[in-house]
């Protein structure tokens, strides 16, 4: 079974530029998550999708971050414009149903460096 795929793996941009990350979840998984992991910290949930609808985006900085999940499968996370504090690893995860006891499967992440 293929895991969660993310691209790119690394991205370096200058502040005020825009960037987009892509995630392909495990086939059949209804729930998709985007996390931000700053160096030395645990992941922080940015947004959770159930199929193509948003379940929770309370911690997404909506003035600069946006996300969509096309047709309930792939998802993109965009930052525009980027700030220095956005430097982090962006992790995508998926789970079958989204219930709490459901295992979340994580992708390898995209490491973003904002200069």
């Amino acid at each position: 079974e293929a895991g969660v795929a993310q691209s790119p793996r690394y991205k370096i941009i200058e502040k005020r530029q825009s960037v987009a990350f892509w995630c392909n979840p495990i086939s059949g998984h209804a729930t998709l998550y985007w996390y931000q992991q700053i160096l030395g910290q645990g992941p922080k949930l940015l947004i959770q999708f159930q199929n193509n609808g948003v379940v929770d985006d309370s911690q997404l900085p909506k003035d600069r971050f946006s996300a969509e999940r096309l047709k309930g499968v792939d998802s993109t996370l965009k930052i525009q414009p980027a700030k220095l504090e956005d430097s982090a690893v962006y992790l995508c995860a998926s789970s079958f149903t989204g219930y709490g006891t459901d295992t979340q499967y994580f992708g390898p992440g995209t490491r973003l460096t904002v200069l």
């Binding site: 645990g42 379940v55 295992t103 992708g107 490491r111």
Partner: protein, 113 residues
């Protein structure tokens, strides 16, 4: 905000020894999960313990949960160099509409050969 706090922040042991790391959290939970993260990689789910459980085993892993103290511990027995990684606890709150996990700040475990 980080719900869980792991202790210690870093732990270094010899291969074959046991490693114990602790997690404290603040709010009532449905379950608590432990994840492992190898350097430069995503997180891997290790074990889940429900709020009505006190202890759970999986291979060389033993997890305990004390809801009265809002704390959990992860024990790795007979550690191996391959266990070197960061370990995170994550909690699912018992209230709220979205069942999102909140992760702690992690324990960096180094197992020396």
């Amino acid at each position: 905000s980080q719900q869980g706090e792991e202790d210690p922040q870093a732990l270094s042991i010899q291969e074959g020894e046991n490693a114990t790391m602790n997690c404290s959290y603040k709010t009532s939970i449905n379950n608590l999960q432990w994840y492992r993260q190898n350097s430069g990689r995503g997180l891997v789910h290790l074990i889940l313990i429900r709020s009505n459980e006190r202890e759970k085993h999986s291979g060389r892993l033993r997890v305990t949960l004390d809801t009265s103290k809002k704390s959990s511990s992860l024990l790795i027995t007979a550690s191996r160099a391959a266990d070197t990684a960061s370990y995170f606890c994550a909690t699912e709150p018992s209230s709220g509409s979205a069942r999102q996990l909140t992760f702690g700040s992690g324990t960096q475990l180094t197992v020396l050969p």
